[in-house]
Symmetry: C2
Subunit: 137 residues, 2 copies
DNA sequence: AATATAGTTTATAATAATTCTAAAGAAGAA
DNA sequence: TTCTTCTTTAGAATTATTATAAACTATATT
């Protein structure tokens, strides 16, 4: 459980003003024991459920993108009508449950490290993502 | 280069009536030497450019989804505002060029086969996808 | 402490991909 | 031909996301 002051320092040190809204979002996003996989709508719901407050939708979008840019959140590649984000920003891979539309982390020891034996001229690799899709048996 | 009759047979054998629109789409999609990675908009453009004809947008969507369901097309997992499809339905992986927003096949010998040493209770794996994102150097 | 400024938040409108609808049209069977 | 079922279509509806521009606030400056 991080203190408010720690969030304030973290925000300030990355050039983001520690506003009320950002601090509330930090609480909801980062004050948890396990990683959080979410869509904007999931996040919005948790803000009202956990904090019993309201942050405008535009601010939620803005902040999530700001946090992603600063490396505090990661966007996960799924072809869905919605975007998915993850509070675990380390390189790791995912199950995507098509039945529940939920993301689940794959542990490092559960999937072999991927080796790419090629490159593209003039391009640099920015990420390597493995997505294992599952559904109910 | 497949003949029209071959498309007719293929469609009929999978329970799809061989309509003018579907045959035109077959021509654009499958009468090519290399695989085709496309968005609905790309496809629409090629219909007018290659065939100089027009198929309603709803039909393009309907047909692409019907072909996907029958296994003639594959949808690729990218978090983009648009959906991407691929005429190569074999298991293979992709580069996604964030600078040009293009998909490029990764050959089988260019990426190691991924081994998953885990499973989820009550779920079955439906696909394993590797996406390598690249951008201009 | 008051003031200036640059960064933020907000409600709302705009955008864009996709799906829905329901009527008209076409394919295949009888 | 006629009937039934499937398909196409234009346009409306839906939905996630981004843009806009005015009100607000954190912070630095005086």
């Amino acid at each position: 459980m991080l203190k408010n002051n720690e969030f304030i320092d973290k925000l300030r040190s990355s050039g983001l003003r520690p506003t009320k809204q950002r601090l509330k979002l930090c609480k909801v996003l980062f004050n948890r024991s396990t990683t959080f996989h979410f869509t904007i709508n999931d996040l919005k719901k948790q803000i009202s459920e956990k904090l019993n407050e309201k942050i405008s939708l535009a601010t939620i979008y803005n902040t999530v993108h700001a946090f992603k840019k600063k490396g505090y959140l990661k966007e996960i590649s799924i072809n869905s009508d919605k975007s998915y984000f993850d509070t675990n920003t380390k390189i790791h891979h995912h199950f995507f449950d098509n039945s529940t539309k939920e993301l689940i982390d794959i542990n490092d020891n559960q999937v072999e490290k991927i080796k790419i034996n090629t490159s593209l001229p003039g391009k640099k690799i920015t990420s390597v993502e493995v997505l294992v899709k599952v559904e109910n048996k």
